[in-house]
């Protein structure tokens, strides 16, 4: 305790208005009013888009087969976006993330197809490639103070060149390894799907209950049981609905080959979500990332090694991008000179921002990448069913990204005005 402080009275935990369901709703509305809209636009946007495309194309869009395809389509962008969130939290940008995934895919496929390397070694090499790319970019930004925009733009160009040289102009290298292909093409058995559902809902409930118990023990304000129950209930409803949906038969001709179950990418993504959310939310490192993004000078004075935090964030970003490359290779059965190119990076930045991560630093969560990535994937998946003109698709995606960035900027201005 503080020197010489008179024995502090133990303040008993006051019952805050947020403790009841009504209070929680009120607090949430206040938060929205204050400009902190979080992931709400992404969730509403996702629902609206799904309803829109389902109404327009009830046969092609609103099918379980397309839903499964949509998840796999979304996954690489989601992984790149999860990595970008670390960089965006610092208030920096990584324009090279798309081609980092392309180069990662190339390393993986070239090692396995051309050199017969075993898949675990190839995956490690791919991830290590990302680690080197990210560390170098991070060091240039943190130690030499070159704006990240410039450093990563240079890497964007250079990595595009590396990809072209490794894969060869116009060529593609295909991948036949069953294990890598399984990630984006196989499904959990329906029974395992239910096990996953129970694990996710049970795990979430256990964390919430244990957290409440330890806070109650410490005599701190606790979220009311009804609020926790409502959250767990909502998650359970979503998980059960999704599992039932995907456990339906979706093969064109089930007699030849049955196709059902949650896509394998779902549990893979959930594991990354869990680990990275833990890293950002529950460790000192994560706390320091937010601090550097919020006020780098304050972080420095608090004794935080700001350059080190920046380097590690860029490294994590590129490692996740390289892993996104593994998913690209799995989804496309190989690698081409355009893997991770064209609009991949914009989709990934869009996913993070649509999900609620701020471009100004200091605000964002890993789940944003998933929510925003799903919105981007619905547009990517649904628009071609309505129009074949790719020009329109580019324009719509650009408009959505701009809309998300505007929401971010406006909410920032609003929170400055309301002092939130």
């Amino acid at each position: 305790m503080t020197t010489g402080t008179a024995a502090p009275s133990r303040p008993s935990a006051p019952r805050r208005p947020e403790d009841s369901i009504g209070g929680t709703v009120q607090a949430y509305v206040d938060k929205l009013r204050g400009g902190d809209v979080g992931s709400l636009p992404a969730i509403l946007g996702f629902i609206a888009l799904v309803i829109f495309f389902s109404a327009m194309r009830p046969d092609s869009f609103a099918s379980t087969r397309n839903a499964a395809n949509l998840l796999n389509q979304a996954a690489p962008v989601i992984f790149i976006a999860m990595g970008l969130i670390f960089v965006l939290l610092l208030g920096e940008i990584d324009l090279a993330a798309g081609f980092t995934s392309g180069v990662g895919a190339a390393v993986l496929v070239v090692l396995m197809t051309n050199h017969g390397v075993a898949w675990p070694v190839a995956v490690i090499a791919c991830v290590a490639t990302g680690l080197v790319i990210g560390s170098v970019m991070g060091a240039l930004v943190a130690q030499l103070n070159i704006p990240s925009f410039v450093v990563t733009l240079a890497f964007f160009l250079a990595l595009q060149g590396v990809l072209l040289l490794v894969v060869g102009e116009g060529g593609t290298i295909s991948l036949t390894n069953e294990t890598i292909l399984a990630i984006m093409n196989k499904n959990l058995s329906p029974a395992l799907g239910w096990v996953l559902t129970v694990l996710v809902v049970g795990g979430y409930a256990a964390i919430a209950v244990l957290g409440s118990i330890s806070r109650r023990k410490a005599d701190l304000p606790v979220t009311s049981t009804s609020v926790t129950a409502a959250k767990v209930g909502a998650l359970a409803v979503i998980m059960v609905a999704v599992t039932i949906l995907f456990n339906q038969e979706r093969a064109v001709n089930p007699a030849i080959k049955s196709l059902k179950g949650l896509p394998l990418i779902v549990p893979v993504t959930l594991v990354f979500l869990l680990v990275l959310t833990f890293l950002l939310g529950r460790t000192a490192f994560g706390r320091h990332v937010y601090a550097v993004g919020g006020n780098a000078e304050a972080a420095r004075r608090a004794g935080i090694n700001v350059p080190m935090i920046k380097i590690v964030c860029f490294a994590i970003g590129s490692v996740l991008a390289a892993f996104g490359g593994v998913l690209f290779a799995s989804y496309n059965n190989g690698v081409s000179p355009t893997t991770g190119g064209s609009s991949t990076l914009l989709y990934a930045v869009g996913a993070a921002v649509i999900g609620g991560t701020s471009l100004f630093g200091g605000k964002g969560r890993i789940i944003d990448a998933i929510l925003g990535g799903l919105v981007v994937a619905v547009i990517q998946n649904g628009l071609p069913l309505i129009t074949q003109k790719s020009g329109i698709q580019f324009i719509v995606t650009g408009a959505v990204l701009l809309l998300a960035a505007s929401v971010d900027a406006l909410s920032r201005r609003r929170s400055a005005a309301t002092g939130r």
Binding site: T2, T3, A284, A291, N295, A298, R301
Partner: protein, 267 residues
């Protein structure tokens, strides 16, 4: 300069004598001295550019003094890095506060010195201790220690920054113009908090421009005039007029710099 130090309040916890500091050719601090006592508020006053901030940064170890004697708790110490002053129990609340708007009160108070259990942050322990510290300072203006700092008023932010500085067994807290940007009511709250720090046994150095503030809470006043200590006097035996004279001309009656020095400083 010792003859200018008229406080007889027992052994000072911090005692500086003959401190000099130059930036290149600019001689900013000339033989300055200062005493601070546990349980007392020592005001450091002086016009803009008198050298107050430079002096404080030297005490905190952000700059190393060129020469002079730095005694803490009776022992001569060397402080030329912020870590050394922190290890002695000296904390500085800078004018720009250095809080992270996107973090909550607890997260800011423990920034860089988070309590952990294993790999994870020990949130409950940190929240408890933040609450205890705030309660120990009788702070009742915060609705919740889990609200973001961006939602706090200027006075509340100052409160958080001050509470942060006393969290770590600090013995001396230095506040650089804590009320400069505050309204009347919030100034009052912060001044009460400053007083409470001293009443809790800490030594406090308060930099201020505002003579009312100074006379409200200070026990001792040290006036700097163009990089020299004009005088350090007992706050109870002085007046606003006297302090203003010391600040503006380095002298007041028979107090302050010898006329020759006061003149020379101007020239």
């Amino acid at each position: 300069m010792t003859e200018n130090t008229q406080n007889a309040g027992g052994e000072p916890i911090l005692s500086l004598r003959g401190i000099n500091k130059s930036f290149g050719a600019v001689h900013v601090l000339k033989d300055v001295g200062l005493d601070a006592w546990a349980g007392k508020v020592t005001a450091l006053v002086g016009d803009n550019g008198a050298g107050k901030s430079t002096f404080v940064k030297g005490i905190a170890g952000i700059y190393a003094f060129d020469s002079g004697e730095y005694r803490f708790e009776g022992k001569t110490v060397t402080v030329n890095h912020p870590k050394q002053s922190a290890a002695l129990g000296i904390e500085v609340v800078y004018q720009d506060l250095a809080l992270c708007d996107n973090l909550d009160v607890v997260q800011n108070m423990f920034l860089g010195r988070e309590m952990r259990s294993g790999l994870t942050l020990n949130e409950t322990a940190m929240e408890r201790r933040a609450q205890e510290t705030l309660a120990g300072l009788s702070v009742r203006t915060l609705k919740s220690v889990r609200q973001k700092v961006s939602s706090l008023s200027g006075g509340q932010r100052q409160t958080v920054a001050i509470a942060k500085s006393v969290l770590w067994n600090s013995k001396l807290v230095i506040l650089d113009e804590p009320t400069a940007a505050l309204g009347v009511a919030q100034t009052e709250q912060v001044l009460q908090l400053v007083r409470r720090l001293a009443d809790n046994g800490l030594a406090v150095i308060l930099i201020s421009h505002n003579m009312n503030d100074v006379l409200r809470v200070a026990d001792s006043v040290c006036a700097l005039y163009l990089g020299r200590t004009a005088a350090q006097i007992d706050a109870r035996s002085t007046s606003t007029t006297q302090i203003v004279e010391l600040i503006t001309s380095g002298r007041s009656g028979d107090l302050g710099l010898p006329p020759a020095l006061a003149q020379e400083a101007v020239a």
